[in-house]
Each structure stands twice: as structure tokens, then as C-alpha cells.
Amino acid sequence: MNDWSRLPVIALLFMFLSRIKEFIVPLIISLFAGGTNPTMTFTRWLFPFLITILLLHSVFYWLFFRYRLDDHQLIVKQGVFIKKNRYIKKERVQSVDMTSSVLHRLFRVGKLSIETAGGGLEAEAVFPAIGQGEAEKIRRYFHDENFLQKSEEDGEEGREEWTYRVPTKNIFLAGLTSGKIGIVVSAGAAFLTQVDQFISDDFYERTAGMMMALGMTLILVIALFLLLITWLVSVLLTVIKYGNFTITKRENKITITRGLLEKRELTLSLERITSVRYLTHPLRQIFGWWSIYVDSAGGGKEEEMLSTLLLPLGSKEEAQTLMRQLIPEATMPETIVRLPKRARERYIFRTSIIPWLLVPIAFWLPNGYFYIVVPFLFMYLGYRRYKDSGYELFNDRAVVQNRNFQLSVSILPRRYIQSMSLSQTFFQKRKELYTLEMRILTSSGGRMFRLKDMERMSAKDPFQWYRKKQ
């Protein structure tokens, strides 16, 4: 176990490709510079020269890249001109993430990233391509307390393992109800209202005449058809991305595997999870569908707001069953403490004030009077926000429930709450209402969980609960 290991030769290809990606702009420029000036020998050689440099750099990078597992840490040596030795202590590792693109899978390798606490966006160590067996060894090294001792016996067979595979039906439904379709439609509509400024009158004359002939019905059919296509594409993308979603629990670690083409395998330890969030939006709420996100102190993808998706979609019962297995204390609570009546006006006011203020402007626009519906819709949203907000304090965890447009139920373990604040504005003071804020460590730094306009009751006082001897 004490000798230095190297990455497989195929890693060279992936290093080279990632270099090309980094230098794509200079590369393209040099390619064009060489093409248009056949007389100038210098520019002509620029592109091959750059490519060779990148290739050589990759070769040396691969040559110098070594790693070693010892009793307490993983040591990674890398760098061509500047040598970097990275020591990653076992106990500091938050997550081990293996992503295998289609190209990776062709060669039976994957990209392995190791995240530590507070590492920010960048992973602590990245192996551009590593064999499945080696990756499994590193994963087990970090996530198995006595791995080194056990390795001689070749592991224990009888260890408890629990697996949940998210039904494909759920992933399909997640795609059908994802917000993407809404974004596509509204972006398209916004574009169409602006695009007519740039089209010449002549074009209008010709096409408009044609459209008239075809009739309004056909235009509508075409629009609906396009809509359907975009919808199906978004469903397809979701299924490809999250297909085969499997969660495996082994002792206190979970491994999330997902993806049909690009496969991702993420291992994180359960006790490092700093918060659990259940999310749903109005459409999903009709059917009682939820998704679950977890936060830990490192890792997480940008597209998921730096959290980790634990369950793409499931009924409340499915979500609860899953959490009972994984983190029983983080199941959704049956009841929560709702906000007092006097908070209602404040919620409605806050949500609808800007749409109301925009009313005079709307009347300047053609057909602007239709806009008058909008503030009322926002008032209703404000009312829903009030209705859906609340909190609960259990012995070891706090629950904050609120809604922007999505409804979220956040479970915050008390030992991960870094600080707590209660604040009051001048107007809240008159109504004896408070804003509760709790700070939790996530990979993006601190995340604030906030509940506006709550009542302070001696029976369930956040400060008393938080101060209690831990």
C-alpha cells in the first residue's frame, strides 16, 4: 500500500482533451491566423506548435501525477512546473464523486473528485481518469474506517446494505413537471414580442399574407406542436440525466448513482449532511410529489444550487420511507407551528407591493389594462406564502417551512446550526412578530434559513431551544 501509483495511460487522453478545452480560444485564433496568411510562416506554425505544447504538457503532467494511500491520508503529487503535493486527511473528506462521460465509459474509466469541507467550488483532488477498481479502492479507503486492516480479508460479505432504486416512472414524471418547460415557453414568448422590431416590413407583407391564408388555427397548431416538442426534449434530457437513479446505504455512508449516458456516482457520509430540504411546486403539489435535496459542507453541483439531489421525485410516502432508512430524524414532520393571523397582511403586502406599484406604468402600454390581474395573482401568492410558512423545534433538529414559488421544508440538525438570530423591524415590533434566521454551513459557505413574521411563544422559543445544553 505504500508505493506510489500512477493513473492509467488513457488518462493522458483526458488530460489532453481538458487542456484543449481550456485553451480553445487561442487555439481557434491560431488556426485561423495560419489559414488566412499563407505567406507568413510564423502564424502558420502557431497552431501545430500550440497543440504540441499542450500534448507535451499533458504527457509530463501524466508522468508526474502520482498518488498514494497511507494510514491517515491520501497524498497526491502533481504539476509540471509548479509541483503540488496535496495531503488529504481521511477524516476531512466530505464526498467522493465519480463522473463517467460516454468517452470515459468507453475506456472503463471515470473522473474522480474528492471534496473536503469548505473547499469552495473546486474539488480538493481530481483524477481525470481512473479505473473502476482503483476508484472503488479510494472510495472505500475514505469511507470505511478500518479499510486498511480489512483489505487483507478482502472485506466482509455480511455487511448491511440497503438499496433504493427510484422508479423510472418517477424520473419521467419529474421531467414532465420540471420547471424547464415554463422557462422555455416564457423565453420564447418574450423573444417573439421583441423580434418584430428587427424584421423588415417587406417580410411581414409577404408572410402575413400567407399566414392569413393558412388561418389562425394552423398557427396555433404549429405553436402547440413546437411546445410539445420542447416539452418532450426536456423530459428526455431529465431521463438521460437522472435515469437509473439508485441510492445505496452502507453503514453511515450513502452512494448515489445516476445517469444513463454520463454516469455519476457520489458517496457522502450521512453524519456530514448539514441540512435536508424537501421541495415541491404547485403543479407537483397537486399530485403530492416531492423531491429531496441535501447539503453538506463540501461538494454539490452548481446546477443544483450546490446541493446534492437525493430524490428526483417521489410521493410523500416514498420520500418518507427513503428518509426513514437514511436519516430517520430528518423525515418530514406531520405538523408545524403556523404563523399567527396578524402576519397575513404583511405577507400579502410584501409579495404584491411591486406589482401594484407597476400598475401606472402598465396603463401606458397598449392593452396594458390586462395587467391589472397580475397584482391580484401576487396577492394570492402572498397569501399562500403566509399559509405555508411555519416552523417546528424538535429535540435535535429545527424545521423551517416556507414558500417562494416552490414550497420547501428544511430540516436543520441543531448541531449544524452555526448561529441563530431573531430580528424585528419597526413594523414587526408593533405586531410582536419576529424574523428567525439560522445559519448552516454548506459548500457555498453559509446558507441562511429564514422565516419571516413568526410569533415568539414561551413554549416553543427558538433561543431557549438553541441554548439548551447540547
Partner: protein
Amino acid sequence: MTVRDLPSERISKKALSVWRIKAALEICVLLVLVVVLFIFTLRFAWPLYLPWIGVILLLLFSFWHVVIFPQWKWRKWRYAVYEKEIELLRGIFIEKHTVIPMNRVQHVDTEQGPIYKKFGLRAVTISTAAGVHEIPALTEETAQSLRDKIATLVGMDEEDE
């Protein structure tokens, strides 16, 4: 369970002078704007009451920003260090009460900028894993003893567990 009193320690009265100097500097920037307004008025023959309104607004704002606001802010600022937690209370329009348990504190620092130095003041910053909290404008002795006290309490708290 008894309800604990609100934190009672005040920050140094010299904070007032520091805040007022900072506020006065900000007013200077606005003053430049008013002067520019005067120049434009003379040059383009705008009505003369425009810059005068500017002057009156500036005077009113200065009175509020330099005289009243710091006084009020100082009166509202309280902190307390207990064995198990640190509490902060501050804010005029938004009154904010924060609890930081000792065992969440990662480190304590004292900080001193040029103006603070002139007045012999220091700020104490308390860092947790998810953010930094600051107690501004303490006298140097208070700041140092507070930092040491928190550091000791944090150390003791860790031994407990």
C-alpha cells in the same frame, strides 16, 4: 425555564466619534455633488432654487447621518459573553438579536483600521463555519480581554465534549 435578560455590555463611547468621522466623510462626497449642481445651474441658467433645495436636503441629511444616527446606533448596540454562548443585540430599524454558541466558534480576532487606531479602538470578529460576526469599537483593553475570554471559553467547551 427562565427568560434570560437581554445582553447588557455596551461598546466604547468613542465609537460615536469614529462613526461620526466616517459619516462626515460620506457627507463630503455628497457635498461635491451639490457643488456640481451649483456649477451646472450657473452655467446653464437653471432656476436657482434647485441647488438651494439640494443644500437644505444635504443639511437635513447631515444632521441625521452625523448627529442623530450614530448616537442611536450606539445606544442600541449591546453584547454579552456567557459561558456557553455569545449574544449580540443591535440595529435601529431592524433590531437583531443573535446567539452564537461557544462550541461553534472557530476563531476570534481583533481588528484595527487607521481611524480605530487613532482612537485606541479595536473590533472583535467571531468566526463560525458559516459566517463572521463583529463587535465594533471596543477599547483596546476590552477587546483583548474579550478575545482572550472567548478563546478560553471555546477551549474549555471543547474539553467538555
